[in-house]
Each structure stands twice: as C-alpha cells, then as structure tokens.
C-alpha cells in the first residue's frame, strides 16, 4: 500500500490546518532566512533551470486549478447530491455522449476538470459519464477552441479535427468504461462524504480547500516530473524521434504526455512543431488534455492508483486512434 492510498489517521489536534500551519510558517521563514547563505550553494545552472521550469508549470497551472476547485466547490455547495444521477438518462449509451458534449461548458485547464469530475461522482453521477466529461471538458471548451483557431490561422479544419477527435475520445472511453469499468476503481472519489450539513458557504470553502490541496499536491508531483525530464533528458533524444510515419505519431503522443502543457496553450506548441505532419500534431493536441504526467498524478490522487493505471493507457490508446482516424479524414 503506498503512502498515498492509506489515509492517515484522523486525529483531532494534529490534523490540518492548526498545528501544521505553524510548521509551514516556520519552514517558509527558515527558507527565507537561509536564502542568501544558500544562494552560492544552489547556483548550479541545471538546478536553476529545473526550478524555473517547475515554478513556471506550477504558477501557470495555479489559476486554472483554483478556478476548477471553485467550480467544484460550487457544485458541492449548490447541487444536491444525486441530482446529476437523476438528471442523466439511465441508459449509458445516451448519458455518456451527453456528458461528453457538456464539456463545452467548462473553460479551464485540465487540472480543474479532475476534481470536478470527482465531485460529480461523489454527487451521484455515473462513473462513465463523469469520466467522459473529465476528458471532454479540457479539450472542447470555448477557450481551447479559440486558442486552436489562433494557433492555426486560416485552417479551420484543424480546429474541427481537434474538437471531433477529443469529443469522440471522451465518448468512446466513457462507453468502454461502461463495459469494463468497475465501481471499486472509482470508489475512492465516492468515499468523500458530503460535509456535515453546514452552511453553503462553509461547504464551499471546505470543498475548495480540500480539493485544492488534494489536486494541488499531485499537480506539484507532475510539475516535478516534467521539470526533471526537461532538464535532464538531452534534447537530441527527443529531436531524433521526429522521423516520419509511426515514429512521429508515437513521438507526438509521448511528447504530449511528457510536456504537460495546459490545454489552452498546447495548440500553440503544436503549431510551432511544424516539421511534424498535421495529423501527428493533432495526436499531440488530443492526447495532451486527456493524459499527461500531471494528469496521471492528479487522477491517482483523486481516484486512486488502480484507476489511473487502467484509465491512462486506455485513454492514450483511444486518443491516438481517434486522432489518426479523424486526421486521415479531415486533414
């Protein structure tokens, strides 16, 4: 059992936020004081580069994560549990596509959609539909559509291809999940109890805090991994993969997973990689918001490791396949 999955014992006095707040304040104070003396010690270019990349990802993602948990908190506070389960049609064949299309309504980075989907499940939405939503929301919301249009000016088919492929991915994965997904894999999210009947504001605040800390911790893990890969892996290794055909597609898929770029911006990254074909860049844009290091870490945290180890490969495979199909037709 990993440290992540075993819940720490709930003790009245030692849990967050009381004793730990003082501890954290002390640590930060110590760091601030030590900074000048440690400065020369830490003056290694590689370490500084790592830190810059790490902080960049964290800071860039932060507003979107906050935005996501605010919506998640609002859902927890305002939507009575079970409402979603009641509203979505029973037939999964209908519920999943509906949930997928509903992703259009949620602007924001993929960091935010994970806690929201967790909340939806805790509130009673069926897992496959919530997962379809989790996949579609970061990829087909208006902000991403606009950014893709800006990144590929004069080429609306790229925007369309991205929209279609991402939506198809979310629906296909949702439907597959209906067949093979097991409830215990998402049990962890459902285990979160609704807060004990406090005012809406309290529910909101507690949810925001809880979800932010939970998801934020894993975002940091993902940012650490991405920064390490960017600083430690030689650029030539990544570049030599830019051959043609299958190698390029695989490279773009892997790159999307490794780079962990927010879905609002990955279109620009894809646009600039112009040595790659449009189809392989489509793979990059469809895989990125659905599965990357940061997301895998987030999903492990919110839904558990077993879930992530099944969901990530499934999503990756479906995303690549749909991109290839859509790409060959539209691009």
């Amino acid at each position: 059992m990993s440290a992540v999955e075993a819940p720490p014992p709930v003790t009245g006095r030692r849990g967050l936020p009381i004793g730990s707040a003082e501890l954290i304040a002390l640590v930060l104070l110590a760091a601030a004081l030590l900074r000048t003396s440690l400065a020369t010690l830490l003056d290694i270019p590689a370490l500084q580069n790592w830190t810059t990349v790490f902080i960049a990802i964290s800071v860039q993602a932060l507003p979107f994560l906050v935005g996501g948990v605010v919506v998640s908190g609002a859902i927890a506070a305002l939507v009575p549990p079970g409402w979603l389960a009641a509203v979505l049609p029973r037939n999964p064949a209908v519920a999943v596509p509906l949930a997928g299309v509903a992703g259009v309504a949620l602007p924001g980075c993929e960091c935010g959609s994970v806690p929201i989907a967790g909340r939806l499940m805790a509130g009673g939405a069926p897992a496959p539909a919530a997962l379809a939503f989790l996949l579609s929301a970061p990829a087909i919301n208006p902000v991403v559509v606009v950014s893709t249009a800006v990144a590929f000016p004069g080429q609306p088919r790229v925007v369309m291809a991205r929209f279609v492929a991402s939506l198809a991915t979310s629906i296909i994965v949702g439907l597959v999940w209906v067949r093979v997904g097991r409830d215990e894999w998402t049990r962890r999210a459902a285990e979160r109890l609704p807060s004990s009947g406090h005012s809406r504001r309290e529910v909101f605040a507690e949810t925001v805090q809880h979800d932010f800390l939970h998801a934020g911790g894993f975002l940091v893990l993902g940012a650490i991994a991405a920064a390490t890969l960017q600083t430690a892996v030689p650029a030539s290794v990544l570049d030599s993969l830019a051959g043609s055909g299958i190698a390029a597609v695989a490279a773009m898929g892997i790159l999307a997973v490794v780079l962990a770029v927010c879905s609002e911006a990955d279109a620009f990254v894809a646009a600039s990689l112009s040595q790659f074909s449009l189809t392989s860049r489509l793979v990059f844009m469809v895989v990125g918001p659905a599965v990357d290091i940061k997301l895998i870490a987030l999903q492990s945290g919110v839904f558990g490791r077993i879930f992530a180890s099944r969901f990530a490969p499934l999503t990756f495979g479906v995303a690549v396949a749909t991109s290839l199909v859509v790409g060959s037709v539209l691009l």
Binding site: V4, P7, V10, G12, G15, P17, I18, A21, A25, V27, L28, A31, R35, L38, P45, Q48, N49, T51, T52, I55, A56, S58, V59, Q60, L62, P63, F64, V66, G67, P153, E191, L193, S195, S196, A205, E206, V208, H210, F212, L213, H214, G216, G217, V220, I224, A226, T231, P234, A235, D239, L259, V261, C262, A265, F268, V269, A271, S272, S274, G301
Partner: protein, 226 residues
Amino acid sequence: MVGLGAVVGRLVLTDGYLNYVKPGMRLWLISATLLLVIVGLSTFVRGLRQREHHDHGHPMTRAAWLVIVPAFALVLMPTDPLGAFAANRKETRQQPGFITFRPLPQPNDGAVTLSLSEFVDRAFLDKERQLEGLRVRLTGFVTPSEDPSASFTVTRFAMTCCAADAFPIQVDVFGQPSPEVDSWVVLTGKWKPHEGGEVEPYSEIVQFEADDLIRIDRPSNPYEAA
C-alpha cells in the same frame, strides 16, 4: 493554502512572475491568489473557532503537503528566468507557415527596435526584404555561438504557454566582442544576409552585424511573445 497564496501574491506584485509566465496571466494570478488567501484564511479561522470538534471526516492524503513545495521553491531560489543553460538544450521553433508582417515600426534614435522573433521571421520570410540595409535594435542575452566565426549569439526565449515550453530565438552576432554569458545587451546594427542566396527558412541561424553594444540589466519581462 494561505502560505502559497501569499508567496504567489508577492511574486505577482514584484513582477517576478514574468520570469515564468506571460504578462497576461497577471489578473488570473491575482484573483487566484486572492481566492486562495480568502478561502484559506476563512477555513483557518473556522478551524480555530471549532477547536473541540476538529474532526475532518474525510482523510487528507499526505500528498497535499506537496503544495508547499512551490512556495518553498519560490522563497528559497532566486527568481530566475531561463538562460544559457536552457538555450543550449532546446531547439528553436519556426513560425507556422502563414504569416503577414505588420508595417515596420518607426525608428527611434536611429534604429528600428524589433523583437528577436520578428527579426528572425523577417529575415527568412519577408518577400520584400525590408530588413536589407535597415538599422535595427535588438535586445537579448548572451550565449556562446556555435559558429566559430561569430563573436557570440544573442538569445531570447519566446513562450507560448509558460516558461516550461519556451523555445530560444537566436541570432549570431558579428562585430562586437562577446560579453559575459547570460548578460543582457542591446545591440544596434544591420542584418547580415546569408551569402549564397536564399536558404530554407529556419535552417540556419540569422546573422547580425552589430556596430553598437550596450549592457543592460535583465528586463523584468525577459521573454518575448511567441
């Protein structure tokens, strides 16, 4: 939460955030910071008031402690943007094929100020070759040149999303001695077109003949828009 909010807040207020993300993020970061601080404080205060029944009901994973890491990193490490180390590791990227140039800005002080990306794009893609013979001013930081005949390379990073995906724009500089690596300079001079006629865009490094070099402090926004 409050700790992180405070550190990020400070980062925004001191413009340090420009080392990592785009200026446009400012408003988002401010609102996110405010939210974090407000919610963090209110839960903290509520926790103080309910000291007896401090029972969370739902377990908090230990990974939540990681949230402190960025705050820690920000406090401990000097806020530095990407520099020569990253420039060595990363390949530059080219513009998507279709591009229209805005009209050249008016010269000020005898030279037209251009960003490195615009300079490089015009060198490769401007059919009208408006750069020829034009006095241009460029700003960037110094990196060693791979071309032995050049003195040094002036570099600047362009970001699409944030510093994590920034890529270097580079121009080889001739005619001035190389200052210290990673120092910032403003160069004035002219584009040095490649001998041997047209080249495949972005296949080589654009060259610049500088007749003037001024050292400057690192600008608060070290990146260019991509």
